[in-house]
Symmetry: C2
Subunit: 135 residues, 2 copies
DNA sequence: CTGGTTTAACTACAGCTGTAGTGAGAGGAC
DNA sequence: GTCCTCTCACTACAGCTGTAGTTAAACCAG
């Protein structure tokens, strides 16, 4: 259970725009560039070339993979959302809270003012993830 | 109590290095550049000019203020840590969790495996910040 | 006063990011 | 076969970041 996978620790950081693209790829992979461009089109209004450039850069960073299909490429997420969320969360914690989780949690909880139901849910999650072996 | 200060909503984002500098300034303001350089020296090994450049940029962004004192400047944080933590947290939530707090909380709790004592503390904090007016 | 030390100002430069233009090759419409 | 269209590859360029070098002004030791 507590395998500390040191292995695939992603060393990359995604820019905000890249997160948006990746979100689409985590929802559905593989996809041709065109589908991504279309999917993005409603909210973000990116030039098609912009999307392609970002895909190319994500390829370089090896965050996405591409397979040739006929005359085009099909892009897939190469790293799991989980991995990148972990990386980004650590970097956030490190930067903003000096790596300390507790103040961060406190900050979020205080900000958000959860409803009593949500509080109950959080407590349940806390219990499920409590680690009795610690102190 | 619930003054929703729409006012000074900081529109800036700090880079990782800038956070480190600001951390020092939140601990003690005002300070001359030299003290900051010294304080940084142990862990980070930044060239003095690097620190000064960063200060200059933070000045431009109006995140720090400087007052002339004799032949040098004394730098002070111009924005509260609180404000910048808020800004950074929102941007983080937005980017990584699409703005949804709950999955973020769940993520952090699951990652960190708190000790039972910490779990108790978190529950206390949850209770203190529960908002019964919400559903 | 004169030169060394410190501060501050300006300049440099590479890598990343956001955003796109341009050109070349491949496939389909006629 | 010829031309239009789409995909991809390459290029561009400005703004931000990390990291510092250079220059000029100012102050203190002698």
């Amino acid at each position: 259970m507590s395998r500390n996978k040191q292995k695939g620790r992603p060393n990359v950081a995604l820019s905000p725009q890249e997160w948006k693209l990746m979100t689409l790829l985590w929802e559905k992979s593989p996809q041709p560039a065109y589908d991504l461009i279309e999917a993005l089109a409603p909210r973000e209004k990116w030039h098609p070339n912009t999307v392609r450039t970002m895909l190319a850069r994500l390829l370089q960073k090896r965050v996405v993979r591409a397979e040739r299909y006929k005359n085009l490429y099909l892009y897939s997420a190469a790293l799991s959302r989980e991995d990148l969320v972990n990386a980004e969360s650590s970097s956030f914690l490190e930067r903003v809270f000096g790596g300390a989780l507790r103040p961060a949690l406190i900050h979020f909880v205080k900000k958000q003012r959860l409803s009593p139901e949500e509080v109950e849910e959080m407590k349940r999650i806390l219990d499920e993830n409590s680690d009795p072996s610690k102190s």
